[in-house]
């Protein structure tokens, strides 16, 4: 029954994909009936009209995107100067920034969240700051970061750090604070030290909530890195997209959009997998 459901869902997914690609292909098909006449206007020249007439609207057809994607993916790590690097290199820069900023945030958010969760006093004391800092768009920190840090790459990592810290902090504090009293009583009646209680009772009990926070964080970090790299430039998938937009290479832009989606999915899936490892049935 379930496999039947899975099978039908897969078929339906494929049908939707084919329909979408078909509509896209038809909408961007070259207009055979309206051949070009005479010289290109200045506007058309500026818009790249002279070089690529294969599509009527300027948006590339899916076939073009796929052949472009094939070319890019068959040599993802080439490096031909600052404005021409393989998609693999660009993605690697972005992933590196996300993981570094995320790791630094985890390093601070999880221990701090632990302490906040265990102490009702700190919980109340920190709460107003967390509530005010949490809704700030991470990009709003960018000018300040650039001024203080004076390094665009580190500023981008800082922006990732600041956006991934909140979900982890809030979830860790919540997970630790809501560990069942029964389990804490078990620790007490077994005369466990504070440290042992933290590691053998509270940490495993709160681990699923903490991992959920990490999963939210990495999702946000991956959203933010694209915008951050568009601002700071240089390297990364965000810069790549902006650069290809300036080149009016929409096939590359669409290809990059798809790649961002795939990498984001993989980052999320890896943390979902990690969550499974620490999850327990109550």
């Amino acid at each position: 029954m379930l496999s039947n459901l899975n099978f039908r869902a897969t078929v339906l997914s494929l049908v939707m994909l084919v329909a979408f690609l078909g509509v896209w292909q038809l909408a961007t098909a070259p207009e055979v009936l309206a051949p070009q006449q005479g010289e290109l206007s200045e506007y058309e020249q500026l818009m790249g009209g002279g070089t690529d007439r294969s599509s009527s609207s300027g948006i590339p057809a899916p076939t073009q995107v796929f052949s472009h994607a094939f070319n890019e993916l068959s040599n993802p790590f080439y490096d031909a100067g600052p404005n021409d690097k393989g998609i693999g290199i660009q993605l690697a820069y972005s992933i590196y920034r996300v993981l570094l900023g995320f790791a630094l945030a985890a390093l601070i958010a999880i221990p701090l969240g632990f302490v906040i969760g265990m102490s009702p006093l700190l919980n109340k004391a920190f709460d107003p700051y967390i509530q005010i800092l949490k809704p700030i768009s991470p990009l709003a920190w960018m000018p300040l970061a650039l001024f203080v840090i004076r390094d665009s790459n580190i500023s981008a990592i800082f922006v990732i750090f600041i956006c991934s810290i909140w979900p982890m902090l809030v979830n860790t504090a919540y997970g630790v604070a809501s560990v069942r009293n029964d389990w804490l009583n078990v620790a007490k009646t077994h005369e466990l030290s504070k440290v042992r209680t933290a590691f053998t009772v509270i940490l495993p009990a709160a681990a699923p909530t903490i991992l959920t926070g990490m999963r939210i964080s990495i999702g946000i970090a991956w959203l933010v890195i694209v915008a951050a790299e568009m601002l700071v430039g240089g390297t990364g998938i965000g810069y790549y997209i902006w650069n290809e937009w300036n080149n009016l290479d929409l096939a590359s832009v669409i290809f990059a959009i798809i790649m961002i989606g795939i990498v984001g999915f993989l980052l999320d899936a890896s943390l979902a997998q990690a969550t499974k490892l620490v999850r327990y049935a109550d």
Binding site: W183, N185, V186, K188, H190, L192, Y280
Partner: protein
């Protein structure tokens, strides 16, 4: 007078009330003694403070007044000398049954080798009949099996005092019967001192040497200590055939149905008059009514 193994002296618990400055007295002036190796059950209606007494003995709650001395040492906090079995099993759900018991054994004897801890844990799991389920997580065990793991965990640390708060309250009647017999078996092998709260009169008669009866709160008292004069080993199947069984049972049920409420009203009148609430339970042996006369002198103490 010889001192008991466990001495509860003038224990009182009062809580602040939400809409009044007066404290609400749950129970007060409780004097109790429990001997080493005794199995004592405490019965009373909900809200009389049974669980609070147990939590005080466990060191998890602090009484408003009074103190508890176990083996000549005051109980000031939770320790490995008091093993606790809670109603909702309170196993750690991310650990297997074996690891749950190992967890306790390790806390008790941190210097033991892993093998020794393992052997010790498995010995107690086998005692409760869980040889085949030691690798399972609590979520993969039935309610009865979980409670058995809890029992194994509590017995495995060999505490001086074993506390049980309605350990079988959440189980169905059949499972409860089976586990009661297993508990009896383990207890007869180890002779732990046990203090257990229950709602079940038959369970108390099956298991206990003595049943303590509490009046209703507020101003609850431990009014009677009823001797269960039925020889061991006892079996559930034949227990009711014993000549004393119905005498004891009727006495307990009569107390719970009628006298718990009446005595509660008396206690509240006494409290209103400002009498000293300190009391010892009246010792009763329903099987031999003539023996019950002696503790009247204790009632006299209260009146002074």
């Amino acid at each position: 007078m010889s001192k008991g193994f466990l001495e509860i002296e003038n224990l009182s618990q009062r809580f602040p009330q939400p809409d009044s400055d007066d404290l609400m007295t749950v129970f007060e002036g409780v004097d109790l003694e429990i001997q080493k190796g005794e199995f004592v059950c405490l019965i009373g209606h909900s809200g009389c403070g049974k669980s609070t007494i147990l939590n005080v003995l466990a060191g998890l709650a602090t009484p408003t007044d009074g103190n508890v001395i176990m083996d000549n040492k005051e109980i000031k906090g939770p320790s490995l000398e008091q093993g606790v079995i809670f109603q909702n099993h309170s196993l750690l759900p991310w650990l297997s049954a074996r690891d749950n018991v190992m967890f306790a054994v390790r806390a008790r004897w941190p210097n033991w080798s892993k093998q020794k801890r393992l052997d010790h844990a498995e010995k107690y799991l086998k005692m409760v009949g869980l040889d085949h389920a030691m690798d399972r997580k609590p979520s993969q065990l039935s309610g009865g099996m979980r409670q058995r793991v809890g029992i194994a965990r509590a017995f495995a640390i060999e505490p001086k005092l074993l506390l049980m708060d309605e350990p079988f309250g959440a189980l169905d009647a059949l499972t409860r019967g089976v586990i009661q017999e297993e508990l009896l078996k383990i207890w007869s092998e180890t002779h732990q001192t046990v203090f257990m709260i229950t709602h079940d009169v038959d369970e108390a008669i099956l298991l206990a040497d003595r049943v303590l009866l509490m009046t209703n709160g507020p101003h609850a008292k431990v009014a009677e200590s009823v001797k269960i004069d039925i020889p061991r080993p006892r079996e559930r199947a034949t227990l009711h055939q014993h000549e004393s069984y119905y005498k004891i049972r009727n006495h307990l049920v009569d107390f719970l149905v009628h006298r718990a409420k009446d005595m509660s009203q008396e206690a509240q009148q006494e409290a209103a008059q400002g009498l000293d609430p300190r009391h010892q339970p009246r010792h009763v042996n329903p099987a031999k009514p003539s023996e019950s006369a002696a503790p009247q002198e204790r009632a006299a103490i209260r009146a002074v």
